[in-house]
């Protein structure tokens, strides 16, 4: 008999007990769907993370100022204040001493309200150089980015992030108009494009919110706002001096990222008594995320594999019942010339039909993963807004990504499970004594 005939025969035999076969198929279906859905969601989550890290740039190295904890404790309340973080000289040393670095952007930031008439928007004021826009892949939608001449001339010019511009200038064109940052007025020369948050990096645990930024020339920042930050905390003035908050260095080649990061670490170590900086390599983050993704997938496969094994046990149960019920048929077939091997084959094909059908239906349901997630999300959003607001953004934004390998693996495993769990019942059928089998009522 050829494969099609075998499949047809298997199908017809299974139709003798429709409900029973359907339940066995359901067991496998759920297993296969579980594999595909879990992997798709896992892939979706890690894709999000990877995109965010990729936004930081695979060739970039980010050096951030962090507040050394012991200094903060011992010197709190001290009148002189503390100075920490990256120095302008660090920037010079990095840019001049490391040949693999093709570009670097120093950056200073501070939280300040930006005003225009009656509008007040809390923002992050960022002092930077013109390269900031290209390195962070932040295109300026309207107007122009900051220019080198702005830095040289200590110009009071600013580029607004998309959201900030919208809120300060709901109606008017912001270009050419003035906004107030602190006590100074700045002319808006450009508006940046809308941009979603990037991954959280060391030193700042929240994702970088580009949409809350206001950019001014670094030299202007230094002159108008200064290095010293005075904050009131618990009734005492806190006095901190920070020269730079971040230096973003871009390496000319991905291969030299790790080596360059090591040199930067060594260089900084020499000039900083305390570790008041963090060197973050997005490439490393990416690699970590990749490892995480692998572990995640293995875990999901394990869980899903267990459900497939449970489905397989269901199939075995049903096939054992089938073999007992069809003892007579086995005897007849043996008398009419079937060898043991052919009986094994017949019953194995039957389990393959069961598990294969379950597998195919499971793949079909697996493809419904995206719409189902959308539907569930919509349902929660509209019927349980309270629950919705407590869910993390990862779930708000989760887009399941069907992994082709998971579909192939799930289907393959389901058929494999059918064969593995079908062998024992099939052999039991084949090893029956034909005379006994023919006598069986």
């Amino acid at each position: 008999m050829n494969v099609i005939q075998q499949l047809k025969l298997g199908f017809r035999s299974l139709m003798l007990h429709k409900l029973r076969s359907a339940l066995a198929v359901l067991g496998i279906l759920i297993g296969v769907t579980a594999v595909i859905w879990l992997v798709a969601m896992g892939e979706g989550v890690s894709y999000q993370a990877q995109q965010q890290i990729k936004d930081l740039g695979a060739t970039s190295i980010i050096i951030r100022t962090i507040k050394p904890s012991e200094e903060a404790n011992s010197d709190s309340g001290s009148r002189s204040g503390i100075a920490y973080g990256l120095l302008r000289s660090d920037y010079d040393r990095i840019i001049t001493n490391i040949p693999t670095i093709s570009a670097a952007v120093p950056m200073r930031e501070i939280s300040r309200d930006v005003r225009r008439d009656e509008y007040v928007v809390p923002t992050q004021v960022i002092g930077c150089t013109p390269e900031y826009f290209s390195i962070n892949r932040l295109p300026v939608a309207r107007g122009r980015p900051l220019a080198a001449s702005d830095l040289r001339g200590l110009e009071n010019v600013t580029v607004l992030a998309h959201d900030v511009a919208e809120r300060l200038f709901p109606i008017q064109d912001p270009l050419g108009r003035a906004v107030q940052i602190g006590t100074e007025f700045y002319v808006v020369v450009g508006v940046a494009q809308d941009r979603t948050a990037a991954a959280a990096i060391g030193g700042s645990f929240s994702a970088r919110q580009y949409n809350r930024d206001v950019y001014i020339p670094l030299n202007t920042f230094q002159k108008r706002i200064g290095d010293r930050v005075i904050t009131v905390r618990g009734g005492t003035f806190q006095n901190e001096t920070i020269e730079l908050n971040q230096i973003t260095a871009v390496v000319d080649d991905v291969a030299s990222v790790d080596a360059s990061a090591d040199i930067i670490r060594a260089l900084l170590e020499r000039y900083h008594k305390t570790v008041d900086y963090a060197v973050v390599v997005p490439k490393e983050l990416l690699e970590q995320a990749e490892t995480m993704r692998m572990m995640f997938n293995v875990l999901l496969l394990l869980i899903a594999g267990i459900s497939l094994v449970v489905g397989g046990i269901g199939i075995m149960n049903i096939m054992l019942a089938t073999v007992t019920e069809r003892t007579r048929e086995i005897g007849i077939r043996r008398a009419l010339g079937a060898t043991k091997g052919e009986i094994v084959q017949q019953f194995l094909w039957e389990t393959v039909v069961l598990s294969g059908t379950g597998g195919l239906l499971g793949v079909a349901v697996g493809f419904l993963c995206g719409p189902t997630v959308q539907g569930v999300r919509l349902a929660i959003k509209s019927f349980m807004p309270d629950v919705w607001s407590t869910l993390p953004t990862t779930i708000h934004q989760l887009e399941p990504r069907l992994a082709p390998w998971s579909i192939i693996a799930a289907f393959g495993i389901s058929v494999g499970v059918g064969i593995v769990f079908g062998i024992y019942p099939a052999q039991r059928a084949a090893n029956m004594d034909p005379i006994e089998a023919l006598r069986h009522e």
């Binding site: 050829n2 139709m15 005897g331 007849i332 010339g337 079937a338 060898t339 023919l438």
Partner: protein, 239 residues
């Protein structure tokens, strides 16, 4: 008669058992179901095997059907000594040289009439490409032309037995083994089935039939009576 015999070749011996015994172990005791039986089955013969229950007739039929192996002795079928064959080879021998007709028809419920007739062909190597046509032809031969796609459950006992007979013919066997073929049927239907077997026998088929009904056995050419695992008598029917 002698003249006719000169013209016809000596009937070929299609199957032969020589001094076969079968011993079962039951509860630590050896039970001799067959104590040394020798028989020859000539081409075109119609043999009825009779005997009371426990006489060994079922055991003999199982041996003839290659469903079991004798404890000792020889069984020649189609030129092979099948007494010593492996399980797989026995399956092949059954499929190639033997046709079975059972008391309870033994059709496969999920298959149609034609598909039931085709079952033995699915175990033939190589596969016959004209299996369906052949099966349809045989179904017509046994008078089931209008019921090719019926399931066994939709047929009467007599019709089911006709399907079984057609199935026994499909592999063109050397011997047809019938185990109480009329045991489950009423007298009228029994007669129809016996007539069908007569027709087959008249076209040269060798039939070996086990029965305990003397009037059914009367329709065979040779009647072998077993008793306690031994042949009690071999009678030739004149009719």
């Amino acid at each position: 008669m002698s003249k006719a015999k000169e013209e016809l070749p000596e009937p070929v011996c299609v199957a032969m058992v020589r001094d076969v015994t079968k011993v079962y172990r039951l509860g630590g005791q050896d039970v001799k179901a067959l104590a040394g039986v020798s028989l020859e089955f000539k081409q075109g013969d119609f043999v009825a095997i009779m005997g009371t229950s426990g006489s060994g007739k079922s055991t003999l039929l199982n041996l003839l059907g290659c469903l079991d192996r004798p404890t000792s002795g020889q069984y020649l079928l189609g030129g092979h000594d099948v007494a010593t064959l492996s399980d797989e080879d026995l399956s092949r021998v059954r499929g190639r040289y033997l046709g079975f007709v059972f008391q309870s028809y033994n059709l496969i419920q999920q298959l149609s009439v034609v598909e039931n007739i085709m079952v033995p062909l699915s175990y033939q190597i190589p596969v016959r490409p004209d299996g369906r046509e052949l099966s349809t032809k045989l179904a017509t031969l046994v008078g089931l032309a209008g019921r090719l796609d019926h399931r066994p459950s939709q047929l009467s006992g007599g019709q089911q037995q006709r399907v079984a007979i057609a199935r026994a013919l499909v592999n063109n066997p050397h011997v047809i083994l019938a185990d109480e073929p009329t045991g489950n049927l009423d007298t009228a239907t029994s007669n129809e089935i016996m007539e069908l077997l007569d027709v087959l026998n008249n076209t040269g088929r060798t039939i070996v039939m086990v029965t305990h009904e003397p009037d059914i056995a009367e329709r065979a050419k040779t009647i072998v009576t077993l008793r306690d695992g031994l042949i009690q008598s071999v009678e030739q029917n004149r009719s």
